[in-house]
């Protein structure tokens, strides 16, 4: 199909979306033509999610216009978007896990046998589901319970559902994040079939190799602004990265070189049935050790085990050469270990507590005098961190919920700086925060190691791993499959190791 001649089915122009304290989208435009696969690229925090949620009717733009088939459209909610032929498949699926595939696909639109009594025609339901699945060449039992399907199959059910809604535009948010390479192939075949039917796909992904293989055009966003729309075939991956990053990698990673000192942490044979299979490594004072790997390589689980948040079946943890027992996070804190978790909303921030209360929480005992908290001392300490980390907040009593992602992350980090920790486990420390805040987090890591702390940094962003680590460990299937010195590490050999399990 000659994409160039197809008329645009969706045009978004000058979209502006503000959240308290941040401009998430600042005049972004996007044009999607029938039958094309259009990649949406940008770093975390570039505004991709906000843009797709705006198109899907989840957010309302503060300015700008969305046109469908050339006509201005009002998309007030996800249902409006559906009626206009736009379906979105989020990373978190929206299926009802205890209902069957057929019930999910026709949820709210069940074929009825006796209309007045709303009695569902089960046979027609299953039959029509079978037709939809067959049209995508999918071998899924319409009567299977969704809970019992794998992630890849659930995703296919979402796609089938979109198709049954006569979607002409399907937005896929990081569809391959949790798929195996075989499943990714199947997904690409399905996308190919959708293209033949003239369905357009908006494909959000960080994996540029995939984008290169599947997309026709790509729109690149940076810091909430539109950068460019390019034809993928005539653009190299390096060029795409340059458009996404907008500056040299060098000043993006303010790496401080510290002469490593004594060993701070050594773990030997950390094992947890079905999850960790004998993880061993060490970290020295002044060192940043990066842990790379694919989603599901059990990096987060490794950090949680060291922090006492998950139990271990066997394995030993040594601090300064002495074995320690860390059975709870409280033990870890007593041993001067800190964990900045991956999922900030779920594990890090207390949304309805103030900035002050968040910052002092883990080290709260310091402020207890004869059983009463020294609120003035808390305020003083919180103010110090807010100033030194440049947390953008109108005042200390503001709810943490009202801060931007980057500032929330700084608050979580401040909470650990206030505990006198010397070993920091950073799990995806810059996920979902903007580029400016990222650089500040990196600077902070540099300061920590300069002052003699040791850092373990888990990250899925290879540039971050390469830019910040002194040493790089690669994990796969619950074990460490390779180790690289900073000088020897390249994206290629790390990926090779993460994918194939050999250095």
């Amino acid at each position: 199909m000659d994409i160039g001649r197809e008329a645009p089915i969706l045009q978004a122009e000058g979209i502006v979306k503000r959240f308290p304290g941040v401009v998430a989208l600042n005049g972004v435009s996007l044009e999607i033509r029938a039958g094309e696969t259009h990649a949406l690229l940008g770093e975390n925090g570039a505004g991709k999610s906000t843009l797709i949620k705006t198109i899907a009717g989840v957010y309302h733009p503060d300015a700008g216009e969305i046109r469908i088939d050339g006509r201005p459209a009002r998309i007030r909610n996800p249902h409006d978007a559906q009626v206009l032929g736009i379906s979105t498949i989020y990373q978190e699926f929206t299926l009802a896990p205890d209902m069957s595939v057929a019930e999910n696909i026709f949820l709210g639109r069940e074929p009825l046998r006796i209309r007045a009594l709303s009695i569902v025609d089960r046979r027609a339901l299953v039959e029509r589901t079978r037709e939809v699945l067959a049209s995508l060449d999918l071998q899924i039992d319409p009567e299977a319970t969704v809970r019992h399907l794998g992630v890849a199959q659930q995703q296919m059910v979402e796609i089938a559902k979109a198709l049954s809604l006569d979607a002409r535009l399907i937005i896929m948010d990081e569809p391959t994040a949790t798929l195996t390479s075989h499943e990714i192939d199947r997904l690409f075949q399905t996308i190919g079939r959708l293209k033949q039917r003239g369905v357009a796909i908006v494909y959000v992904s960080h994996r540029l190799e995939e984008v290169k293989g599947i997309a026709d055009r790509a729109t690149i966003l940076r810091d909430g602004a539109y950068v460019a729309t390019v034809a993928v075939a005539s653009t190299t991956i390096d060029e795409m990265i340059r458009l996404m990053v907008g500056r040299d990698l060098k000043d993006k990673f303010p790496k401080v070189n510290v002469e490593p000192g004594d060993e701070v942490l050594r773990v030997e044979g950390l094992t947890r049935k079905g999850i960790l299979r004998g993880v061993s490594f060490r970290v020295r004072r002044g060192e940043i050790v990066g842990i790379a790997g694919l989603v599901g390589a059990r990096r987060t689980e490794t950090a949680r085990a060291i922090f006492g948040a998950d139990p271990l079946d066997s394995g030993r943890i040594f601090l300064h050469g002495k074995p320690v027992l860390v059975r709870t996070p409280a033990d870890a804190i007593a041993n001067r270990i800190a964990l900045v978790p991956e999922d900030r909303k779920r594990h890090g921030i207390f949304a309805s507590l103030s900035v002050r209360e968040n910052v002092v929480l883990s080290g709260l005992r310091q402020f207890s005098r004869k059983g009463l908290l020294d609120l003035r001392g808390e305020r003083r300490r919180a103010q110090e961190f807010v100033s030194s980390l440049r947390v953008a907040t109108p005042d200390l009593e503001k709810w943490a919920r009202d801060l931007s992602g980057g500032n929330q992350q700084k608050v979580v980090i401040a909470k650990w700086l206030n505990t006198n920790a010397e070993l920091f486990l950073f799990d995806e420390p810059t996920r979902g925060i903007d580029v400016g805040a990222k650089i500040e987090v990196y600077r902070l890591m540099g300061e920590l190691v300069s002052r003699g702390a040791a850092i373990v940094m888990i990250s899925s962003e290879l540039p971050e791993i390469l830019g910040m680590s002194d040493r790089i460990l690669v994990m796969r299937d619950g074990r460490i499959c390779g180790e690289f010195a900073r000088a020897d590490a390249t994206e290629e050999n790390i990926l090779n190791c993460a994918l194939r399990g050999a250095a």
């Binding site: 709870t328 996070p329 409280a330 207390f350 949304a351 507590l353 709260l364 207890s368 908290l373 009202d402």
Partner: protein
């Protein structure tokens, strides 16, 4: 919310001037003191992300235990036994919730039924009369112009306020209710503090039960029905969030005042008690609805 309370008072006062009489105000505050103490305990439970459905039944259990012990061992022992009974029932709730990890709704629902059963079993279903005359003072006496139950409730509010705003325990209650997983990962021993939450709620219910027993000057196994629901209502009407982490002594005080003034005022203006229930039901839902609407606009 303070504006609503003032408005209610002004309206009732203008329809029936007796509303402002010293006798009536003393009566209202005395009646409110029981609900106030239950609501304080409930505040801890709800703030921590849980709930305590058993506080109403606990009143009955406490009343029976208090009366029985008082008849055998005397005034002081009876009062102590009553408060302790509340604390122990709360400890049982806490153990089941924190150690066996049964959801608070279910654990305290069980206690709601079981505590009532225990009260009826211990008393044989009959009131326990013949308590010492001096005990009457606790329910009906005055310190200066203030009824003793009112003084106790005010003191309890002050104590709860200090605990919630100025102690580790209080801060951790908010943290657990705001984000329990993050609380665990911040090094808080969530299980222990949860137990403490339900013990606290039980102790407040114990205190309330003893005062109520003094007011009726007998042990009554049928006291306190649906009081747990009013205590929950008091917490949320003032702006406490039902899922935890938001609220406190101040918001609970507002809720108690609204419910107390409404009950008394509607009586004074001679609205039938049947209709009163309809009004109070509407107020509970309306107050929370307004609160949510305000939250969404933020």
């Amino acid at each position: 919310m303070p504006a609503v309370i003032v408005a209610l008072a002004v309206v009732f006062g203008s329809i029936n001037p007796n509303f402002w009489s010293a006798t009536n105000l003393a009566n209202v505050s005395r009646q409110m003191s029981i609900l106030a103490l239950l609501a304080l305990g409930q505040t801890f439970a709800i703030l921590s992300g849980g709930i305590d459905l058993s506080v109403g039944s606990m009143l009955a259990l406490v009343s029976v235990v208090c009366a029985q012990q008082m008849k055998v061992y005397g005034l002081a022992a009876g009062i102590a036994a009553g408060v302790l009974a509340g604390g122990l029932a709360g400890l049982a709730n806490g153990l089941i919730i924190a150690k066996a990890r049964v959801p608070p709704f279910i654990a305290t629902l069980g206690m709601l039924v079981a505590a009532r059963g225990a009260a009826l079993t211990l008393s044989g279903g009959l009131p326990i009369a013949g308590l010492p005359r001096q005990f009457l003072t606790l329910g009906a006496g005055y310190i200066g112009p203030f009824p003793i139950p009112t003084v106790i409730a005010v003191a309890a509010f002050a104590l709860a306020h200090v605990i919630l705003s100025r102690t580790l325990f209080g801060r951790y209650v908010y943290a657990m209710g705001s984000n329990e997983e993050a609380a665990v990962l911040s090094g808080i021993n969530v299980a222990n503090y949860k137990m403490l939450v339900y013990v606290t709620s039980g102790l407040f219910a114990g205190l309330a039960g003893v005062i109520l027993t003094a007011r009726v000057i007998s042990g009554q196994p049928t006291l306190g029905e649906v009081q747990e629901l009013y205590s929950i209502a008091a917490v949320v009407i003032g702006g406490g969030r039902i899922s935890g982490g938001v609220g406190g002594v101040g918001t609970t005080l507002m809720g108690v005042l609204v419910l107390g003034i409404l009950g008394n005022g509607l009586n004074l203006v001679q609205v039938s008690s049947y209709i009163q229930n309809i009004v109070i039901g509407a107020i509970i839902v309306g107050a929370v609805w307004i609160d949510l609407a305000r939250e969404r606009r933020r």
